[in-house]
Amino acid sequence: MEPLKPLEELLLEHPFFAGMEEGPRKLIAGCGRNEVFHAGDYLFREGDTADRFFLIRHGTVAVELHVPGHEPLVVDTLQSGEIAGWSWLVPPHKWANDARATTLVRAISLDAKCLRGKCDDDHSVGYEVFKRFIPVIAGRLSAVRMQLMDVYGDPGKRR
């Protein structure tokens, strides 16, 4: 079995933290912890307090929308190297979706209250975090727009 790596080293391996200076990375690492989810476990559920976010190190997470009277609808899947959750950034800090592990998932979770505090105390840390979150959010918005266009549907019936 491989020896456990320090959290800061694991953060460095995750694309979200690529190129981040040691100083802010160490500060952020203080808010993190390792987590493991088994297939079927929920990382978070819609409406619950968004008290953390996840750096997926291994496995697949399905982002789901709860549809009353129907099975949940999967609207995105997230893989290793991706981020799960940004509701911790946006008041009232409630999850907008469910996130369910569809395989064994290893992740680093970062405590939202701790991280928000560090971002408030040191704006350069906040800038580093936001600089990395905005491309993730922009990429997902762009993907959602493409999904909404229903490009594979009947061109005559496109929404």
Binding site: L73, V74, T77, G81, Q147, D150, V151
Partner: protein, 283 residues
């Protein structure tokens, strides 16, 4: 008949073909296996070319060839989406249609030898790429790593699903599929095709890769952007264009896109050639 008209005759006269098999693929998509009704051999073609399929008294439509270029039958995969193809959907084994072709410039399967291949398809766009995939698999040692990325609307809309699953089981292919939306019974990926292209999951050498992309133009646009972001040069990106093709030999002008005739100069273009008009809203 003058000389020019005589030269054009083989391109303009439909040859009768008989439907030997009909396969229902997904809800509004079907495939035909065709053989010449005159007892001769079907014409040779290169992956990515198309034929004009003619239904007497109804009309003619351009349809890509979707079968194995080394096979003995001609295969077309058709989506019933317009007046002609809706009638075609009702035909069965033994019925006859007219075929003109093959036409156009296909995928650069020979030029791509020695390179990594990125084959990116969306929806029915897998059909024109399937002959290229068959060709690559029949000559697998001539290529570097090969990845097939496929996107569909829902799991029920995945075209050639059994083949995709078979290809995915090979050790010498990387195959990933995604859908725009699914219920929780779908264990695969959900999201857009460009997101599948991730060098952390499947590495490729951008300067020694060739990408072949086919699908709705919006999907191709986003895919081209993703591949450019990964460093693949424009001259190594190939897209298959779709326009209103009538004559299929560059005479009528219906399919003209800027300086190009899609039927004759394409439908497959390198992006350094088609790029300048690819984003033009007026065309």
């Amino acid at each position: 008949m003058n000389t020019a008209a005589t030269d054009l005759a083989p391109s303009m006269l439909p040859r009768p073909f008989r439907i030997t098999r009909v396969r229902r693929e997904v809800s509004d998509v079907f495939s035909w296996e065709l053989e010449p009704a005159d007892g001769g051999l079907p014409p040779a073609y290169v992956p990515g070319q198309f034929n004009m399929l003619y239904l007497h008294g109804v009309g003619e439509v351009p349809i890509s060839i979707s079968g194995d270029p080394s096979g003995e039958t001609l295969v077309h995969t058709v989506r019933a989406v317009g007046a002609v193809t809706e009638v075609m959907r009702k035909l069965g084994k033994g019925d006859e249609i007219g075929v003109r072709g093959p036409f156009g410039v296909g995928w650069p399967v020979a030029e791509a030898e020695g390179n990594d291949l990125l084959i990116v398809a969306g929806g029915l766009g897998l059909a024109p790429l399937r002959p290229a995939i068959y060709h690559v698999l029949a000559n697998r040692a001539r290529y570097g790593s090969v990845a097939i990325y496929y996107g569909a609307r829902t799991p029920a809309d995945i075209l050639f699903r059994k083949e995709l699953e078979r290809w995915r089981g090979r050790f010498d292919l990387f195959v990933e599929a995604t859908v725009d939306a699914a219920d929780i019974r779908w264990a695969g990926r959900v999201g857009v095709v460009p997101k599948l292209i991730d060098p952390r999951r499947h590495s490729f050498d951008p300067d020694n890769s060739v990408a072949m992309i086919c699908g709705p133009e919006i999907m191709m646009r986003f895919t081209v952007s993703a591949l450019q972001a990964h460093g693949v040069p424009d001259q190594r990106l190939f897209v298959s264009m779709e326009r209103n093709m009538h004559c299929a030999i560059g005479l009528c002008g219906h399919c003209q896109l800027g300086p190009e005739f899609i039927c004759k100069d394409g439908p497959v273009f390198s992006f350094d050639r088609i790029g300048p008009v690819f984003h033009a809203r007026e065309l």
